[in-house]
């Protein structure tokens, strides 16, 4: 789960990381009120969960409350990469002397949280990593020791931070690591961390990506979730205990197991088709889950054929076949189905399908066979 900039910054503030004064607004009038309260120039920032807000015109400077209202008027309701802006953050404008990058991320290879800093703040850090990797300084944190001050000093020295700001920087680095660990994050980023002309060090922007698996122990973070930015089909799938991702193609995929689901997408593409989705039924799925999954897949009217690929381990093929027949009874469709059932109770499952004698059902044996038949069926050819 991703947090909005204003949510991230409010968390930062609780951990002693300085942020500009400001508040959120959902109407131009509210934006004006915030600007009046702050006094002086402000920045009006769209709150959507995508990068590149500035380039898209979603971040504007306003010198007066009048201007703040106008800017909010422009930004609220605008679309940025398919997301509608419903909230803006109105922050005090800062006179920036220096922009720094500071972030924490999980390093899978070393199995540690890594803190990274760079003198190249305010730009895309992936870009810095690609072009000038030597400008990114990293320290790796032992989980039993936590971030030590000397490690923060290594970062400060590595990015050439002026000595008079070292104490502030160490405090912020420590706060950042605490946010990461206590909130169960996968990524915490301050970009840019700025030194203002009046020598304050503060987080001008903020990004937190949370570990979904740990949300159960953070009800207050769960409450921050903004479902309006989620794909409705993905939300429905999630509630049904399915793992689903909407893609652009024409072949719906219903598979058990994440690896097999990915491989099924790969093989569809290999034979010239485009997958319409990733869908992992999970282990031990019964009829109900299959019905829900098919409902979600078939609601996408770009789907021209559905490939059902089940390798029964804990999942029983006869249950999947029964679920399929139930679903077909409730959903009216003439989309062709290519079904491959292998593994636990596959003979029974295939028999159930054969007995039903449906005209838009094609059975397949191997994975390649199934993919080829699905690609042909989507093109309106019979394989």
């Amino acid at each position: 789960m991703n947090l909005h900039e204003y949510q991230s910054k409010r968390i930062f503030a609780k951990y002693g990381i300085a942020i500009p004064g400001g508040d959120v607004a959902e109407t131009p009038a509210e934006a004006r009120a915030v600007a009046e309260k702050l006094g002086g120039p402000v920045v009006v920032k769209s709150q959507v969960l995508v990068g590149g807000r500035g380039k898209a015109g979603g971040i504007k400077l306003a010198k007066t409350p009048d201007e703040a209202e106008q800017m909010a008027e422009q930004i609220l309701g605008m679309e940025i990469k398919g997301l509608t802006v419903k909230t803006v953050l109105v922050d005090e404008a800062s006179a920036i002397a220096t922009e720094i990058y500071l972030g924490a991320v999980l390093d899978r290879a070393n199995r540690r949280v890594v803190l990274m800093s760079s003198s190249e703040g305010g730009v895309d850090i992936e870009e810095v990593a690609a072009t000038t990797p030597e400008k990114i300084i990293k320290v790796s944190v032992h989980p039993f020791l936590g971030l030590r001050d000397y490690q923060a000093r290594i970062l400060a020295e590595g990015i050439g931070l002026p000595k008079e700001h070292a104490a502030d920087f160490i405090k912020i680095a420590r706060g950042l690591y605490e946010v990461f660990v206590e909130q169960d994050a996968n990524l915490v980023e301050i970009n840019p961390l700025v030194i203002t002309e009046d020598n304050k060090v503060m987080a001008l922007d903020g990004k937190i990506v949370l570990d979904d698996n740990a949300l159960y122990r953070h009800p207050e973070l769960q409450a921050m979730h903004d479902p309006s930015e989620d794909d409705p089909a993905e939300v429905e799938a999630n509630e049904a205990g399915l793992s689903y991702i909407n893609l652009d193609g024409e072949i719906g995929c219903l598979v058990n197991g994440a690896g097999l689901a990915m491989a099924t997408m790969d093989i569809v593409k290999h034979f010239g088709g485009e997958p319409a989705n990733f869908l992992d039924l999970g282990g031990g799925a019964g009829a109900e889950k299959v019905t829900q999954a098919l409902g979600i897949i078939l609601r996408d009217d770009r789907v021209k054929a559905v490939l059902i690929n089940i390798f029964g381990g804990i999942t029983r093929c006869d249950n999947v076949a029964k679920g399929f027949l139930e679903a077909i009874n409730t959903i009216e469709t003439d989309v062709p189905f290519v079904i491959r059932l292998v593994g636990t109770n596959d003979v029974e499952g295939r028999q159930i399908l054969a007995d039903a004698n449906l005209k838009n059902v094609i059975t397949a044996t191997s994975l390649s066979d199934a993919a080829q038949k699905a690609v042909a069926a989507a093109k309106g050819e019979s394989a």
Partner: protein, 290 residues
């Protein structure tokens, strides 16, 4: 010969009284695995399915039964504790099936295990099997057959696909290990490749990887530097869109690290045979035999 588990393996099941725990205990016993104990705090002294004795703690179970392997199938919130408890009780091999464990919990668990010398397989994995001897996992036992192809994989169902195709061709497996698809796990490809290389009962190896992380690239380096046995590989997620999580928490590509193409190139350059589609894997293995 085989790796990690065999007919002498003595298993203690953590979470034996749960629905899944009961079912898989029965399945493992039917396959011939010695399940000697179960753990369910508060029910010590009682009996689980098939008269397996229940203990309150792993320490009690190990003392009373000589269990040397843990099979953990408890909820995600309890799993880190179970893993550490098993290690503290002197268990040498800990197999954790549980999925959705918070990643920072695993950072701590793994750091602790490394100080104890215990081996963890998983979490979020199907477990492992030595066909004809023992399975400590949730895979369907009947599709496996004893032989000398070593299998190591991040994906349960893709492993079943491969094993099924091998068995259908009359090709058996020495051991099949599911290492799981989480970003932090106990055992990676490199560890298992090393064991298969040293195992006299394994003649060639199949590895099934996934997008995300750099485990497969490290395996490639190991294959290049240290392996004499042939390795055939497949990487799932060649068409996955960047930045999206594909079911396995580890299967996410961001910042260009860990794409399928990178991994396939690294393995190819290291001398492994790389399949474009999973169906080709069994053919590659068969061709190596003839």
């Amino acid at each position: 010969m085989s790796i990690l588990v065999n007919k002498d393996t003595k298993v203690v099941v953590h979470g034996i009284t749960g629905r899944q725990g009961t079912f898989h205990t029965e399945q493992m016993l039917e396959y011939g695995t010695q399940v000697v104990a179960g753990i369910r705090p508060g029910k010590g002294g009682e009996w689980a399915t098939r008269n397996v004795p229940i203990f309150d703690t792993a320490r009690d179970a190990v003392e009373a039964t000589g269990a040397n392997t843990s099979f953990i199938i408890v909820p995600a919130a309890a799993a880190p504790d179970s893993i550490i408890e098993a290690a503290d009780a002197g268990i040498e091999l800990i197999v954790c099936i549980t999925e959705h464990i918070p990643v920072l919990d695993m950072v701590k668990v793994r750091a602790y295990l490394d100080t104890m010398g215990a081996r963890l397989v998983g979490p979020n994995c199907p477990g492992l099997i030595t066909p004809g001897e023992a399975k400590v996992g949730i895979m369907a036992g009947h599709i496996h057959t004893p032989g000398n192809v070593g299998v190591v994989s991040k994906s349960g169902t893709l492993t079943y696909e491969l094993v099924y195709a091998l068995t259908a061709r009359g090709i058996g497996q020495s051991s099949a290990v599911g290492i799981g698809g989480d970003p932090i796990n106990g055992t990676n490809f490199l560890d298992i490749l090393q064991m298969f290389e040293e195992d006299s009962g394994t003649e060639q190896i199949v590895m099934i990887g996934e997008i995300g992380g750099t485990d497969e690239q490290m395996a490639a380096q190991f294959i290049k530097d240290h392996m004499s046995k042939s390795v055939s590989a497949f990487i799932a997620g060649q068409t996955a869109p960047p930045g999206r999580r594909m079911g396995h928490a580890g299967a996410i590509i961001s910042g260009g690290e860990g794409t399928a193409a990178e991994k396939m190139d690294a393995l190819q350059a290291a001398g492994a045979q790389v399949a474009k589609i999973p169906d080709e894997l069994a053919d590659m293995v068969a061709a190596n035999i003839s």
